[in-house]
Amino acid sequence: MIKSVDLTRIFLTEEVETTALRQVTFDIKQGEFVAIMGPSGCGKSTLLNIIGLLDNPTKGKYIFLDHDVTNSSERQRAKLRKQNIGFVFQNFNLIDELTVFENVEMPLIYLGIPTKERKQRVEEVLEQMQISHRKKHFPGQLSGGQQQRVAVARAVVSNPKLILADEPTGNLDSANGEEVMNLLSDLNRKGTTIIMVTHSQRDAEYSHRIIRLFDGQILVENFQSN
């Protein structure tokens, strides 16, 4: 599903040049659940951004679903992104001015799905995430766990092939964190590929494979047998 060869990402500011990724090479197959771990500043988020088509590598090659997207335009990437990828963030990134329903509905609007179908799909996914009783609330009125369930709902509502989760439990207590991890595992069992950045060894246990990054390089890949 995903193939990267010698991915390198260098950030240039006025004064310094920072290499966030150095020649990172890996494959991820359809249906995998991969955790990316490593200390702060090791390049996890940068890698996730490239995988999520939010950023382009400086060097190297990146193939997403058989498309070589290494140097594709923002427009092409945005198109691939909205059809195939759902995002879950540590800080949920919900829009405060929109209700739960509207937040979840958003990706479908950008996919051009008709109102009626949108309604049905949002209702379904909210039901699935057990948050439908809160659909008229605003994010500010929800607990962290509830907000993250909404964020997951938003990530899956368009039935993406891939979900990218950036420390999805980082802002949650352990009970809520576990709940979110169970949701992700469920989705993975139903066939969705999941790539998750995490600090938490416990969360990483849910994955099939752990990629450990250090200073922008892959240190080790562990295959798990759960």
């Binding site: 427009r75 945005a78 909205k82 800080n91 958003m106 950008y110 996919l111």
Partner: protein, 808 residues
Amino acid sequence: MFKNYLLSAIRNMAKNKFYSALNIIGLTIGLVTFILIFLYVRDEITYDQHHKNYERIYRIESSFRIGTKYDNFAIVPFPMAPALQLEFPEVENVVRFAGEDNLLVRIGDKEYYENRFYYTDSTVFDVFNHSLLAGSLDRCLAEPNTIVLTNSSAKKYFGNENPIGRIVLVDNDMQFKVTAVVADVLENSHLKFDALMSVATLAHRPGGEDFNSMEPDRFWNIGLYAYVLLNPNSNIESIFEKFPQFYEKYMKSLGDQLNASFDLKATRLDKVHLTSKLAADLPTGNIAYIKIFSIVALFILLLASINYMNMATARATKRAKEVGLRKVIGADRYQLIIQFISEALLLTFIAYLLSLLITSMLLADFNTLSGKAFTFNGIATPDFLLLIFGISVIIGIISGSYPAFYLSSFSPLKVLKGHAGKSGKASHWLRRGLVLIQFFIAIVMIIATIVVSDQLDFLKNKDLGFDKNNTVVLEMQDTSFRKQAVAFKEHLLQNPSIVSACNSSGVPSRNLWIQVMLVEQENEMKEMAVILTQCDYDYPKTMEFKFVEGRDFDKNMGTDDTAAVIINQTAAKQFGWGADAIGKKINYGMELDRSGGRIMKVIGVVKDYNFNSLHNKIEPIIMFISPRPRFLMTVRYKEGEKNQALEYIEQSWKEFGNKRPFDYKMLSEMQEESYGAEQRISTLFLIIASITLFIALLGLLGLSSFTAESRTREIGIRKVNGALTGDIMLLLFREFFWLILISFVFAVPVAIWQITNWMESSFVYYTQIHWYSVAISGLVALIIGLATISFHVVRAASANPVESLKYE
């Protein structure tokens, strides 16, 4: 402490160059506009107040009834003022000004045409204050053939030579000796003169007795401006109260015979300029425009202040941390308020200095536009500078106080934890509201500008009932030349470029002759005051009047030169004749006992034509053949052959020995002269609309920049969730689109209501407000508005979401 505030204010300004520049530009434009309008308004409302006794000086005016027709004039009967002084102890002094139009003045071999020469009583300098520059004011106008010049006239005629005792030759045959030179009449005087000639001169001329005779018939002939200076403890009302006895004594007997009456009116000197709306008046101001401009000046200041408030609160998020820190280290709220207000004051102070600079640079153009003569030295008095400074300070405090109170209210704990300082919903709506107000005003101004210009087009292009194009009008002042008018006209007609020519006492746009005549009614002939033109056979043809009934003058009829009259439709209607006007009788020039006179029958009715400007309703007018040549010669030439025609006319003018230099006016220009005020207003509206729109755009630019900034995270989230750059742009544009649309919806009725009021009160004939004029103004606001924000919108929409989400 103050130094710290100032330093912090300066650094803040330097750090936020974009916002500071927007604010300073906005405030400067606001102040410059305010200053210029202030100067204009102050000048207009202080007319004639430089005369020491202005509160005791009144201009006396006439209110006539003749038959059923009422008319008010700025001019009075010749002996009115001296008679008032004779009869009423309240009157301390009087002075009269009889104007002479288009006077030919010769100094040596140089010729000048002058319009601002007046025959004046010798008391003029006892009533009014004019400073003496040379000669003596004592008895300077007491003797016949004496003249007082203003400084400019003296310089124009005599250069740097001493003008006292020199001779000014007027109208080829009158010699005046210069007895004094006074300073030029101040621009804000309603009566401006270039020279004053002694009234005594006229006693030696035919008709001169007009001035001093108190015979009854002299009271029924108006022709000059007159002013009375009241005693310190008297008031004008006591004269009005006693006026009936005066009328009884001097005017009633003849008035009754004429079926007329007269009442005295008066306007205090300083009120003449702005309140007078009388016939035969000098150019006056318009209080309506003063009001409009005052309101506009305040609005523009308001707009500029709004911009400041808007941008300052918008930046609250960025300032929140600073506020929190300052509070943690011990600043109390009061100190923070002072700090934020000093920032506003610093900006307004810079704007104040810039606005003075820019005002001084714009003054010359502004003078051209406003017809004023301001100089920077003249306006930069300490009072004025202090006043504008005071206003700047007030703007600074007002516009600084809202952000100051708002920003200083942040709780340090929340701010430092990163929670507060996100501008709340309330301030969000306030900002939108403020921009809404700005666009509301801008759109009203744009609509007004377009409609005023439509009205101007309408005034210039309306079918007036005669053809004003391809026509020149010549004044025949030289009396010996005028006697040859018939031959002159025949000579002109020999040229192939000339289509027709006519001689008349008046032409459309210049028709001042009103006289009492007898008009046929059901059982009797009745006195009516009617406007008339005496002309020759070719007048209706040359003007291209359209006949709706009857026929034109015809030499072959034999009697048309004495027994025929042509009237307009309104006359037929108002005389009660309707469709049966042909054959009805008018007796013109009868004696007081109704004997004699010239009895004429109506031979034709012409379609109503606008012989006055479109400010006025069409009144009855009649025309008949004059027994002798009249003042005006109108020549119609072939389309496109103006130059050939004019060349020939000038050549003929000289061949016939006219003592005056050749001069002419286009009939179309004479017609359009009456719309000078509207022309100016139209230009002013355009400028003001541009300024308001520009300030509103600055506000919009600030708001859009803020929106783009504050919605960065939302935009990032949306993009991550599949929004394309285009979707985001649409999202951002939509918000502003609604803002402008709502302003438009509010602006349209207000604009239409105000403009309709203005047109109804100023014009009898006016254009309708076209839907497309309104639509265009909305579109202009929308397009310019959206173009303004597009910079920030495009930048925000195309930003990489990674950046915006990382900062969370």
